[in-house]
């Protein structure tokens, strides 16, 4: 009987950004400060 082989796309479907990337984003968010002066918004990173 003919066997049908197919590429395993499961890994691609389950693709997620790594915990390290997520942690970086969360830390970045915590360190980001937006201050407003005379209607202009300034960003600063308190790292």
């Amino acid at each position: 009987m003919e066997k049908i082989y197919s590429a395993n796309r499961r890994k691609e479907n389950e693709l997620k950004a790594s915990d390290r990337t997520v942690k970086f984003l969360l830390d970045y968010s915590k360190s980001l400060k937006v201050t407003e002066a005379k209607g202009i918004k300034f960003e600063s990173n308190m790292n």
Binding site: E12, E14, L15, A17, T21, L25, L26, L32, K41, E43
Partner: protein, 193 residues
């Protein structure tokens, strides 16, 4: 509907200082966004980079209070990612690449694909002439063409912006191109370098 509502609630919480809401937002869209990016760039490392840059833009926009797409969070994030993917390919096409063969070719490193000054002037003239021709099109066709070609919008976005169906937007684009060709042929215009 529930998903949209949940996003907007999470965004509100995050904007008012709840960092956990950001974690929930990232976690919620992580797989979908990563798969979308990976499907275009086909590299896990580049996917991570673009995912990170996308959310940095998201965080900045939310924190600056300039986010105004209530209920359409994921399409907005996808658009940011899409633009970053385009930037990535633009950058990488300018990067010198070593082809892996044994022969060393200095021109693969110092090659310059920029137009020379003469061709640049002709190209500028063509772009200008094309702009005049596009202005001759009926307004509905012109709008679709400008959004698609100059603003790089998808037909879905065009249909949302103009309030017509995707099929109508596609039809308008088709007629815009047909009419442009007609104008070019009737006036014997040559638009090539």
């Amino acid at each position: 509907m529930d998903v949209q509502l949940e996003d907007s609630v999470l965004i509100k919480r995050y904007v008012s200082g709840d960092e956990k809401a950001l974690e929930a937002l990232i976690d919620k869209h992580n797989q979908r966004l990563s798969s979308f990016i990976y499907s275009k760039v086909n590299s896990r490392d580049i996917t991570e980079d673009i995912f990170q840059d996308t959310f940095i833009k998201v965080i900045k926009t939310l924190r600056r209070g300039t986010y105004n797409e209530e209920g359409k969070f994921l399409p907005w994030v996808m658009r940011i990612a899409h633009n970053l993917i385009i930037d990535h390919f633009r950058k990488s096409s300018r990067m010198p690449m070593y082809d892996g063969s044994n022969t060393f070719d200095i021109f693969s490193f110092i090659g310059d694909d920029k137009l020379n000054i003469e061709h640049q002037i002709i190209k500028d003239q063509i772009d200008l002439d094309l702009g005049v021709l596009i202005n001759e099109l009926p307004a509905d066709q012109r709008d679709v063409l400008v959004m698609r070609i100059y603003k790089d919008m998808s037909f879905k976005e065009i249909s949302e912006n103009t309030g017509v169906s995707i099929n109508t937007a596609l039809g308008r684009m088709r007629y815009a191109l047909i009419n442009l060709r007609k104008i070019i042929e009737q006036n014997d215009i040559v638009l090539t370098i």
